[in-house]
């Protein structure tokens, strides 16, 4: 009797697991295969598989390539993609460089004010981005005006005409806030990591006559690679998907990142009937992060685990 109940329980367990698996996977598959449909196909066969799968021929394959062509070029997804790549790559480079510099010093050196600076960085973990958004908007206006005025005399002296510096509607403005806002998490994680590295290495390198700078870039950074990778993954996912700051600081279509481009398409989705294009755009937006996750999922899960156990 106990065993029978156990078997039923076991069956139920697998049934629920598989049901949820289907609930997760099916919508994503639906998006992917729907991106191969023409508008008529949506009308005749709204939910089913596209002809490009059921009856693969030249004509039906053309539907698929047309959809992606329209999304990639016609709807500027190529430019959104390149913008995202540029903004995230530059931000990540500086986040990792500046974050590890600060973390290394905070973890391995004794000096006055160290704890204060560490706490200052940590307090950033509790500040919601919404809080800094509005003041930063006006700060950017002031900084732009100020820099323009400051640079006007030398620019004129060099005969370069008029130069206006603006942090609004520019990638530079977005990158600056991405770097600064990512520092608390990065510094917090990497400080913990640098603390675990053996101190003898630094002493040995010092005896060999290496400077502090050399020790950091040649000895410590390579050792910190696992920590850097974890931090890089989390920051990549966060920044690649970021929407609110982009919404406030980017206006021109030619500057928009993927989430912004996708949002402007989805805001018209209810009225637009070119579904093939919308599905294709959605696939383009989903694929990079899914790919990163599949390749690096072990590292990502380990990162969450470490975070969880430290609480």
């Amino acid at each position: 009797m106990g065993r029978a109940a156990g078997t039923i329980g076991n069956g139920l367990k697998y049934a629920l697991l598989c049901l949820y698996l289907a609930a997760v996977v099916f919508p994503m598959c639906w998006v992917v295969y729907s991106s191969g449909k023409s508008t008529q196909e949506f009308y005749k066969n709204p939910v089913g598989l596209p002809k490009v799968l059921t009856a693969p021929n030249q004509e039906n394959l053309a539907t698929l390539t047309t959809n992606y062509g329209k999304a990639w070029i016609g709807s500027h997804f190529s430019s959104y993609f390149v913008n995202s790549l540029k903004v995230v790559a530059i931000s990540l480079f500086f986040i990792l460089l500046l974050g590890s510099m600060a973390a290394y010093v905070l973890a391995r050196f004794e000096f006055r004010g160290r704890n204060l600076i560490y706490v200052l960085f940590l307090s950033g973990l509790l500040i919601p981005m919404q809080l800094i958004l509005i003041p930063l908007f006006f700060q950017y206006s002031n900084m732009g005006e100020w820099l323009t005025r400051l640079l006007a005399p030398p620019v004129r002296a060099l005969g370069l005409g008029h130069l206006t510096i603006s942090f609004h509607d520019s990638h530079a403005g977005l990158i600056l806030i991405y770097i600064a806002a990512s520092l608390p998490f990065t510094v917090f994680t990497l400080t913990a990591f640098f603390r675990t590295l053996p101190g003898e290495l630094r002493e040995a390198a010092m005896i060999d006559g290496a400077s502090e700078y050399r020790i950091f870039f040649r000895v410590m950074m390579p050792l910190a690679r696992p920590g850097l990778v974890t931090v890089a993954i989390f920051n990549f996912l966060g920044l690649w998907n970021e929407y609110l700051f982009g919404l406030v600081f980017l206006n021109s279509d030619s500057l928009k990142t993927l989430p912004l481009g996708l949002a402007s398409i989805s805001m018209q989705a209810q009225y637009k009937s070119d579904y093939g294009l919308i599905f294709a755009g959605l696939v383009i937006a989903m694929l990079p992060t899914l790919a990163v996750y599949i390749f690096l999922q072990e590292k990502l899960t380990k990162g969450i685990t470490l975070g969880a156990l430290k609480g």
């Binding site: 800094i132 510094v187 912004l260 685990t305």
Partner: protein, 293 residues
């Protein structure tokens, strides 16, 4: 000599990150508190009004309180499902199932997709046009005549519940699973020898020993619910109504549509206070005596 060199090293390494952080995070934070005490349209000189913006919040039926209710809805209703599903799946996977790796990896998928993409995906699922997955299913299964406008403002918050559960459960499952795997197997062995049942093991060993991580999960949920913006904003085409405004969308609309910067920033300040409060209170309330093992 050596000492001065080291000081210089510390300054060059700490200076740039600290300057950037101070200029773009700390300075705006301080300014937010200043702005919140003014009435300002962004052009004329700001007028100092003291606590007036905050007093308006407490008025019965204020837009702030309505938005806050929506935030609470968006953390509590999906939160209950997320926590129970995540705990359940983490527990059965931890006990050992065939294909554990597959479930674990796949359940996490929606979490890495951007919130904008998730929102668009669900707009398409709920759509009343030809593509709408759900309406098509209802049409063929239950023969409904008219498609149901699920994302209509008055019922949008309910429509967001499955979406939030779908996109967040995997993360909490991975979090809880990690905590469960950290519990030494010997505890379970000893309890089984004493004749503990599977429910007993969960109730008296698993749950108490992962309580810290569960607390962390609850705090995450609350903070995420307080900050909710993307889905409501996009599903409402940038014009949320009194049915759907959250604190963040209200803040955005007040500042960038109504040029009421003082009031908008005051919302942000209170949002910050609520995040702080929620973190501290739930730590205090949920923290039982910490079990060391």
């Amino acid at each position: 000599m050596k000492r001065r060199e080291q000081k210089l090293f510390i300054a060059t390494f700490l200076g740039p990150p600290l300057a950037l952080y101070a200029l773009f995070v700390l300075l705006p934070t301080i300014n937010a508190f200043r702005y919140s005490l003014t009435r300002w349209d962004g052009l004329a000189a700001p007028v100092w009004v003291g606590m007036q913006n905050f007093q308006k919040f407490s008025a019965h039926g204020s837009d702030f309180l309505i938005a806050l209710q929506h935030n609470v809805f968006l953390m509590v209703v999906p939160g209950v499902f997320i926590l129970s599903l995540a705990l359940f799946f983490a527990y059965v996977i931890h006990q050992g199932v065939k294909g554990a790796r597959l479930f674990r990896i796949t359940f996490f998928f929606p979490n890495v997709i951007s919130s904008v993409a998730v929102t668009l995906l669900w707009i398409l699922i709920y759509s009343t046009t030809d593509v709408g997955l759900l309406n098509n299913a209802l049409k063929s299964w239950f023969h409904i005549k008219q498609p149901i406008p699920f994302t209509e403002s008055s019922r949008l918050l309910w429509a967001l519940v499955p979406m939030i559960v779908w996109s967040a459960t995997g993360f909490y499952m991975v979090l809880f699973l990690a905590a469960m795997e950290n519990i030494p197997e010997t505890f379970y062995e000893a309890a089984r020898l004493d004749g503990a049942t599977s429910t007993g093991l969960f109730r008296y060993i698993t749950l108490p020993l992962m309580w810290d991580v569960f607390t962390t999960g609850v705090i995450f949920l609350i903070v995420t619910g307080l900050k909710a913006f993307d889905a409501v904003w996009i599903m409402e085409n940038g014009r949320p109504t009194s049915f759907t405004h959250t604190l963040s969308t209200l803040m955005y609309s007040k500042v960038f549509a109504e040029y009421n910067i003082g009031y908008g920033t005051a919302i942000a300040v209170l949002l910050f206070a609520l995040v702080l409060l929620a973190t501290l209170v739930s730590r205090r309330l949920l923290q039982r005596e910490r079990l060391e093992y």
